[in-house]
Amino acid sequence: MNFPLRRTSAQSLASAVFRLREIGILFALGAAVAFFAIRAPNFLSTGNWQGIAQNVAIVIVVGVGETLVVLTRNIDLSVGSIVGLTAYLSAATFAHHTGASVALVALIAIAIGFGLGLVNGLLVAVARVPAIIATLATLAIYRGVDVQITGGGNITAYQLPDRFLKLASTKPVGVPTLAWIAAGVAIVGAAAVRWAPWSRDFYAIGSNPEAARFAGIPVGRRVITAFAISGALAGLGGFLFASRFPTVDAVAAKGFELDVITAVVIGGVNVFGGSGTMLGVVLGALLVATIQDGFTLLRISEFWRLFFNGFAIVVAVTIDALVTRRLQEALRRRRAEALAARHLEAGT
């Protein structure tokens, strides 16, 4: 009997493909680093790496939440507006109450983000508005609210307490505090999707919503949860954004959702839901941030970045779909061959 052998071959093929995704990003990351190291003189300096780490941190924090939403076969376009709104609110709170506790303000930002995300979730799960339309609308609405609140004004760094700004400027063990926070969020996120029963449901829902309902999974509640967490992390992202870019006005973080979605999609989270890992998302965010940093050092126009983001999404989605189809075909074929072989054995 050689069934166990066949088991492992099918398994290892599949897991190899998934690992391939992460290895692929690592490889691309290595190539990008090598390229920029040669072309841009100070690319490899500690300072530059600390800059990349700071840039990538907020994308990762928000990306972890976005990942949960995408896993359920939805999308959240409003995260940029939530980041902008909570960034302004955090900064404004400090500007008006210089003595406010940093942790308390962070909690407020998270709570506001949670509420906004909850609205998205309710729109999608209860009012049955497709996620792309719902969050396109809330993207505009939250930004509109932001503009209302700022009233055209802005808050500058000198209005903010040092305790808050230090979040972005300090570098324990040579790594920026922001990056530590992002690492913490990513680890908690990774643990959650691995160990929390409710977050395993996200995968099931994204993989086959109909079957999820049959299996007794509370689909609506889970989708709302995913959006609410995405909103809460965008709130935290906004709070961090204000410490990193302390001059906050109504256009802060405009278009930020594209950076986040690019990181998530490049990181291998399937836009059809059902598969993806937090490690992939972190690597995806790193790749995006590295390339953008390299572009800046090489004085390549800001706008090529935008182009690159979009292009990367298209390429990642295309490769994803083609690989998934190939994999399915390969697995099926193997299985069919195994069955044929078994029938042959039985027949003789």
């Binding site: 009012a127 792309i132 339309i133 609308a137 993207l139 505009a140 126009s301 182009f307 983001n309 979009g310």
Partner: protein, 357 residues
């Protein structure tokens, strides 16, 4: 329920009727804000600044009816605008340059179409990507400040007036486009294919409908309309900038969805989209009169977009439960129209062997 009430309710339940009521309501509200609203000049000019949005909405209608989405449409317009401007700036005739802008936009639409239909990829993710890519491309192409020296003979089509300097040229233009596209969508084989694919792509394929080609064509149409919108945009604003149309995606999508086009595909009407465009234009105009800022206006428009979908869902659910048919669709109108036509034209006169030709 009496028969008369049932008929009244059915008429009321037509989406287009609701839109007309909303347009009148918004008009009354605007009049209370400023008596200037009812001036003929203001009424005639109401839609002019939103012509380019309308053109894109018409293009997007084909895509959404076919069951897809194209959120790259506004970025596509920006690319066509800057291509147009660059070519014109290089000394090419303005009309030829405009044509080149149209071609570029159509090609970009075809890129979306090829990715979605040939490779069978999700249009949402693909056009999200191309939205960013095209926007970046627009900036990259127009490296400088922008072009603003278009000849007045050209800018007239966007901002000029005829008939005693009162009727904006853009108004008859958009009406004509709406009528032509309405005919394409509702009275041609191509249009039927679009509806069929949007209702059930699988069944369409099994029935021998060239699904791949039609899906490709709707994205090309969306690109072409983005190009046309670009041409009008330059005409209206008299300048070309890489951020042309930024922020108007919300209005475009709202016009389509508010116009009663089923966001899941398979239903919608050009008339509805046109009425929704008028409503959006009217509301923006009214809010301007009330001194409400652009971004704050977005809150209202975004709310309207959400409300339109929720209302559509509610009505659909209520009526599906009762009649087991999908309301607010052309189906209902056809029952009336067909029966009337049948009375005039007995079916006996129908061609006996349709396969003969």
């Amino acid at each position: 329920m009496t028969a008369a009430r049932a008929i009244a309710l059915r008429l009321l339940a037509r989406w287009e009727t609701l839109l007309v009521v909303a347009i009148v309501g918004a008009g009354i509200w605007s009049t209370t804000l400023s008596p200037f609203f009812l001036k003929r000049a203001n009424l005639l000019d109401l839609v002019t600044p939103y012509i380019f949005i309308g053109l894109m909405a018409f293009g997007l209608t084909f895509v959404v009816v076919a069951g897809e989405i194209d959120i790259s449409i506004v970025s596509n317009m920006a690319v066509s605008v800057v291509c147009f401007a660059q070519v014109f700036d290089a000394g090419v005739n303005v009309w030829l340059a405009a044509l080149i802008g149209l071609v570029v936009a159509t090609v970009l639409g075809l890129v979306n179409g090829a990715l979605v239909s040939v490779l069978d990829l999700p249009s949402l993710a693909i056009t999200l990507g191309t939205m960013a890519a095209y926007a970046g491309l627009a900036y990259v192409i127009l490296s400088g400040e922008g072009v603003a020296s278009f000849p007045s003979g050209y800018t007239k089509i966007g901002g000029g007036y005829i008939a005693g300097n009162e009727l904006p040229i853009a108004l008859p233009v958009i009406l004509a486009v709406a009528v032509v596209l309405g005919i394409v969508l509702h009275a041609t084989r191509f249009g039927r294919y679009v509806f069929t694919i949007g209702s059930n792509r699988e069944a369409a394929r099994f029935s021998g409908i060239p699904v791949m080609r039609v899906r490709m064509a709707v994205f090309a149409a969306s690109g072409l309309m983005a190009g046309l919108a670009g041409v009008v945009y330059v005409g209206y604003f008299g300048s070309a900038r890489a951020d042309a149309g930024t922020g108007s995606l919300l209005d475009v999508v709202t016009a389509v969805v508010l116009g009663g086009v089923d966001i899941f595909g398979g239903a919608g009407s050009m008339l509805g989209v046109f009425l929704a465009l008028v409503l959006v234009a009217e509301l923006r105009n009214g809010m301007q009169l009330a001194n409400i800022q652009g971004d704050t206006q977005d809150i209202v428009i975004g709310g309207l977009l959400l409300a339109a979908i929720v209302a559509g869902n509610l009505v659909r659910r209520a009526q599906t439960g009762r009649f087991r048919v999908r309301p607010l669709r052309l189906g209902r109108k056809e029952v009336i129209a067909h029966d009337a036509a049948d009375a005039l034209m007995p079916s006996k006169l129908a061609p006996q062997n349709l396969k003969g030709r």
